[in-house]
Amino acid sequence: MKQPIVIAKNLTKSYTKGLRALDNVSLTVNQGKVLVVMGPSGSGKSTLIRTFNGLETFDRGELNVLGIKIDSTHDERQIQRIRRRVGMVFQQFNLFPHLSILENITLAPINVQKRRQIDAEEYAMYLLNQMGIDSHANKYPSQLSGGEQQRVAIARALALKPELLLFDEPTSALDPERINEVLDAIRRLAEQGMTMVVVTHEVGFAKDVSDQVLFMDSGKVIEKSTPDIFFSNARHERSRKFLNQLDKHS
């Protein structure tokens, strides 16, 4: 029996009074599964996945990540425990510009997990190799293309051997010809059985990689379906409208 990695119950959050960025969101992600989150801009996708590692607080509801419970009190100690076991990849890469690629990746293993530098570097080189960018280990982020930077960011998130990976539109800031190298890296992680929550607008990729698709609008979960149903025969009018618009743009 696969155990749940994320259980969210009735998550509700407002940044400004009366406007709900999250409105009673409930979901479960089981071990080894990939949840793709879709929805128009401003629908609350980023807010949702950022609550999973405590980058964002919420006002009501409960969250259980890897058996660690957090609620609206946002207990820093619990959040710190979660962050050590959950990796995150951002739309803007957010690599540390003053550190080399290798230092970017070994920072957390050395400072958080107290691993020895040589061990951390050895594992970092293995990860860079997996991402196909080991020749850049001693360069600085600004010397790499967007696609390469994002693959470094994935390696950095993997360095702590996370049990859950969060992706927030990992290819939205990339040039079109750089998108596939990143999507392929994420596909391989899915094949290896990594549990992931991925916010993306890439339909083809979402079809391949997801076990479930969550469609959000105005902070609400509109539809939760398998990719087969969602992409060919979405149950809700709003989902179908959204997919139509995506088609027109690509």
Binding site: M88, N94, P97, N111, S142
Partner: protein, 299 residues
Amino acid sequence: MNRNQKIFSQFGICIICISVIGILINNLTINLIRTGLGFNFSWIFKPASFALAEHVLPYSSSDSYAWALFIGWLNSLKVIISSLLLATCLGTLIGFARTGKNSLLGLFSAGYITIIRQTPLLLQLMFWYFVGFLGLKNNMFFHIKNIFKISNQGIEFLGLTLSSEFSALLFGLSIFTSAYIAEVIRGGILSVSRGQWEAFRSLGLSERKGLLKIIIPQALPAIIPGLTSQYLNLAKNSTLAIAVGYSDIYAINDTIINQTGRAIECFLILLTSFLLLNLLISNSMETINKIIINSRKYN
């Protein structure tokens, strides 16, 4: 503006500058003739015949004016450098508190910065001198086992004695400057993008480690220039020493002018001393800046 207009306006500016300098030189000559002293520095080797309460190097009233001035310069240097260090530590702490997550600390530091910046420095110096030190009971106000003592005699720490004049100036200058440094630090920290904070947090790094390893190294290039200008301000503000009776270069200059009437020579000396001091500060900061930039392997 076309070329001709440019040349014309620059010509105008030149004429104005030359006229102003001419007027000043004229006034100076008239003054020199009126006082009948002439312009020379030979008096500088005559005995000063005034006492100095505070001197880093040996000094007696039979020493020359030149030596008294040098002692004053050292006194200035002493109070400037120690205030500079204290102000930097204090300002950094307040700056961090201002940007940190703790809202109570944030509120406190915001209040501190506002109050300190909205009151004149002279008033603050007077406060520290008359209320802070001289207002204390003559024996003792605060002490830890004779290791650390605060009384109206000043501060005593491990055999090191700081006069109440020096202490008041040190406190006043440090606290005043720290409020400005705190704002410089805050500005530097805010110049680092939110994404950098989110990235280190998502990796499980503590706030302290993240600040130290990720935020500060990126904030430094934005902090150093602001810090330099606050240090230069501090150096210039240190001339308010005269208000609490601390014998810095300005106060000693003032005494010498009263004794000898050599106002012009003394002002030249004062000017040079401060030029030297500020060049020292800005060059050191420039060096630090260069080291930081050169150690950076990215752009």
